[in-house]
């Protein structure tokens, strides 16, 4: 247990205290108690920057589940540190923002901050664990906390729907990832990521390589909302806006990207890895930006924009894998894709975080997020407007903001794909820059919609619930900090490159030595012309939006993925309900049939498969003629019960069987049993006679099919029991412990009747509990006879 472990679990520890703090200090907004934690953690993680950029990763370990070889190994390298800084840094700003966003009088702040802290700790655990099982546990915890936060306003139906949807999709992916982790364990015998990476040669030739790759990618794609799993993210926007900014834009949805980056050294050599990640990424990039344009809710626009940007980072990571096939140190184009991915990851967190907060302010101050009702807020909310301009222009890839730089790098990476002559990238690769450019045009359009439909045009105060005004300063601090970062990184991109980006890159591609230098001006090259093309065409399309918007109506509703999800869910629910109804039909007889059928099936198959059936005729005791007589009596009596009509006769026949059993006991040298059996049988029969006087005379009619089923099952049970009895007698697996009792009965317990001594001495507690059972039964009997329920007829 080190300080690093303490840092990871500190959010959980604070979460325990939150309800107490909430109760004790009702007058103070609970957020103020939470705020110091991410700030302290951020400063703590900053202290690692010099260490990770110069030396080996820092590894602290302590044993968690020793028997399974699971160690909670915390590891800080460049990649983990980058994410840890994002989680704590954005976390600090989001909590500060939430203090002004959530009213302390109306909201249940205690649960909100418990969930948020739960998420923060889980996310830190995901990015700082070296052990895959620990990573998985934290991974699922992020899904749970996301579920709880989306459903925070659980009285709204849409919140519950969104929460369930995100849970089903991300946990499905998580489970598939667990499958991938187990496959990796089968291949390497370890859960440690570092050790798995060390054995990547072994894994690459293993037949389980492709299944493991697919399982891991499924986990990453569902978490990072890649097409076609992206459908949960727009519905997750039902969460309070600080949550959307934090989980569903800056951190949690990037866990999939983290996983892909983290596992790159293991899988990236394979063509499938490159094509799947780059392919799904680029499709998501296009589909997200295309769908964002038709949205009317500001948060929905941002949700689809996030999907699209995640797709972009994903595709860059995929393309980056191609560099592994070159010695690429001399040619920077080979590594630029991965560099762009990491750089854009940071940039996206800054501009998208600030945009979410801006949208939150608009929602908070006007009461709506619908762009059809908004407009003309520029004069009323000048600071918010400025922030929106900075965020949106950065998102659209315009200079001088940081989004411009990463978008240019993105174009560079995409246009150089055709230079790679591996995995047929030189032929099909041409599609990538084309789709990327089209998607960028749509990105430009929705960025403009976001700003200009909200802040320019005519103010429609009659459609707004509140009278809009500028937000309080506390709410503006966080977006201002993020927007400043957008500009600072835009002008001085290299402040991050040596200390943050390079260490992260060397964690993704350990084979390379990176020297990142991001420059603002490249001259009039292809990338710049592409950006200019995006601006020109984007502006034209934005201005003519009303004319071509109709194409969205052409898309058939039936094919929509959401529809498929809803139908699938309904089908699964109805199907499982019907299936359960089919066998859980409320009839005890059916349940007994299942039990007996299983009894027959399992025992007979085990007898057969284990070759356990055996008959040993030699050690059997001899048969006397009076024993045959007893056998005849018991067989005739018990079979006769099945046929007799009269209830009295069947009770008498049952008594006959019982008394014959007692005679058997006498014959088999069991005097105590015989005595007990005689007494009990007498009482039983009289009890039967007493009760049957009160039971109805009419026997229930049974049809032939009913009887036939009973007959088949009962013959089966009888046959299996006979086989078991024969085998049990004929097989002696080990020496009986009975000899101990025979020898020690007198010396230990001073009794001569072995059976009695066993019952009252050696196994005295058994007998005591037997008496307890009888007492309970008699209390039950007394209650059933004497007590009358109130209102009973």
């Amino acid at each position: 247990m080190s300080l690093l472990h303490l840092a990871i679990i500190s959010p959980f520890l604070l979460a325990v205290l939150v309800p107490i703090l909430y109760k004790l200090f009702k007058k103070v907004h609970t957020g103020w108690f939470i705020l110091p934690l991410p700030l302290v953690l951020f400063v703590y993680f900053v202290s690692f920057v010099s260490a990770t950029s110069t030396s080996q990763p820092i590894i602290e370990s302590f044993t968690w589940i020793e028997a399974l070889g699971i160690e909670f190994t915390a590891k800080i390298d460049g990649l983990g540190l980058l994410f840890a800084l994002l989680i704590t840094g954005i976390g600090t700003l989001v909590i500060l923002y939430s203090i002004y966003y959530l009213s302390k009088d109306k909201e249940k702040l205690n649960t909100f901050y418990v969930y948020l802290l739960l998420f923060m700790g889980a996310m830190l655990g995901v990015v700082l664990s070296d052990n895959l099982i620990v990573l998985y546990a934290f991974w699922e915890l992020t899904s749970f906390s996301s579920f709880l936060l989306i459903g925070y306003w659980y009285d709204r139906e849409k919140s519950r729907y969104g929460a369930q949807k995100s849970m089903l999709i991300t946990v499905f992916g998580g489970l598939s990832m667990l499958g991938g982790i187990i496959l990796l364990y089968i291949m390497t015998g370890t859960f440690s990521i570092s050790e798995i990476i060390a054995q990547s040669d072994v894994i690459f030739t293993h037949p389980l390589f492709v299944p493991a790759l697919l399982c891991i990618l499924l986990g990453a794609f569902t978490k990072s909302a890649q097409f076609p799993f992206h459908i949960w993210l727009p519905d997750a926007m039902e969460a309070p806006t600080p949550v959307s900014a934090y989980l569903h834009s800056a951190t949690m949805v990037k866990a999939g990207i983290y996983l892909v980056a983290r596992m790159s050294p293991v899988f990236a050599d394979h063509a499938l890895w490159l094509w799947l990640i780059a392919g799904f990424g680029i499709v998501t990039l296009f589909w997200g930006s295309f769908s964002a344009v038709k949205q009317t809710d500001l948060k929905a626009i941002l949700a689809f924009s996030t999907i699209s940007q995640l797709g972009m980072i994903m595709s860059l990571l995929g393309i980056g894998a191609a560099a592994l096939h070159f010695d690429g140190i001399d040619d920077k184009y080979h590594t630029i894709a991965t560099t762009a991915a990491v750089f854009h990851l940071i940039n996206h967190a800054t501009f998208k975080g600030s945009l979410f907060m801006v949208v939150g302010i608009v929602d908070h101050e006007t009461g709506t997020r619908d762009i059809r009702r908004l407009g003309g807020l520029m004069q009323l909310m000048p600071i918010t407007f400025t922030l929106a301009i900075i965020g949106s222009f950065s998102m659209a890839g315009l200079p001088p903001f940081n989004g411009f730089l990463s978008k240019e790098m993105f174009f560079t990476a995409m246009t150089h794909i055709i230079d790679f002559n591996v995995f047929q990238l030189d032929t099909w690769g041409i599609l990538f820059p084309v789709i990327a450019w089209i998607a960028s045009v749509f990105t430009f359009i929705y960025s403009m919609i976001l700003v200009f439909k909200t802040f320019t045009g005519k103010l429609q105060p009659e459609k707004l619930e509140k009278k809009p005004h500028e937000a309080p300063i506390g709410m503006l601090i966080s977006p201002i900090i993020l927007a400043s970062l957008v500009i600072i990184i835009g002008f001085f991109p290299n402040i991050l490159s040596v200390n943050i980006i390079e260490p992260a890159l060397s964690a993704i591609m350990p084979e390379f030595l990176f020297e990142v230098h991001i420059s603002f001006w490249h001259g009039f090259n292809l990338e710049l012309w592409m950006t200019i093309g995006v601006i020109v065409l984007g502006t034209l399309l934005y201005l003519s939006l009303a004319k071509w918007r109709k194409i969205y109506g052409l898309f058939p509703e039936k094919l929509a993925l959401n529809k498929a999800y809803d139908q699938g869910l309904l089908f699964a629910q109805n199907g499982s309900f019907k299936m359960t109804k089919m066998y859980m039909n409320g009839s005890i007889r059916s349940y007994l049939i299942y039990i007996f059928a299983f009894f027959i099936a399992i025992l007979s198959s085990v007898l057969f498969s284990q070759n356990a059936f055996k008959i040993d005729l030699e050690h059997a005791a001899d048969v006397r003629y009076y024993e045959v007589l007893l056998v005849a009596v018991i067989v005739i009596a018990s079979v006769a019960i099945l046929f007799v009509k009269s209830r009295l006769t069947s009770v008498i026949l049952l008594g006959t069987v019982g008394y014959t059993v007692a005679l058997f006991f006498v014959n088999f040298r069991a005097p105590d049993l015989a005595l007990t059996q005689l007494v009990i049988e007498t009482i039983s029969v009289s009890l039967f006679l007493l009760c049957f006087y009160h039971l109805p005379k009419k026997r229930n009619e049974e049809r032939m099919a009913f009887k036939a089923t009973n007959l088949v099952i009962s013959i089966g049970v009888g046959a299996v029991v006979t086989l078991i009895a024969l085998s049990a007698h004929s097989t002696k697996l080990f020496e009986s412990i009975s000899q101990y009792y025979v020898e020690n009965t007198y010396t230990e317990a001073a009794g001569k009747n072995m059976v009695n001594v066993i019952l009252v001495d050696f196994r005295g507690f058994d007998t005591l509990f037997e008496i307890v059972v009888l007492a309970i039964a008699s209390i039950g009997i007394y209650a059933m006879i004497k007590l009358r329920m109130k209102g009973a007829k």
């Binding site: 019960i641 099945l642 229930n700 196994r763 006879i785």
Partner: protein, 113 residues
Amino acid sequence: MEILMAFVIGILFMCATYLILSKSLLRIIIGTGLLSHGAHLLLLTMGGLKKGAAPLLGEEAPSYTDPLPQALILTAIVISFGVTAFFLVLAYRAYKELGTDNMEKLRGTEGND
């Protein structure tokens, strides 16, 4: 003798199963009674029959019958009596309250659980 007993036990189990699957409560209870007889004999047969004198040290025989199954069966006899008695009274009360001893009619229905 054990071989013969194995068949007796099988027949007891068969009859018991058949009765337990029938519709009338009384027959089901008789079935459980038969089932416990079968189980007791099965236990006894598993331990081996007539291996020696009754398990009483007073017999001073060279070998005794296995006492352990006997102790188990003794417990089982008493417990099965308790269960049978409980069943019987349950059937009696169920008939008093519900007016039927037909299992098909006694089954729980939707909204009546």
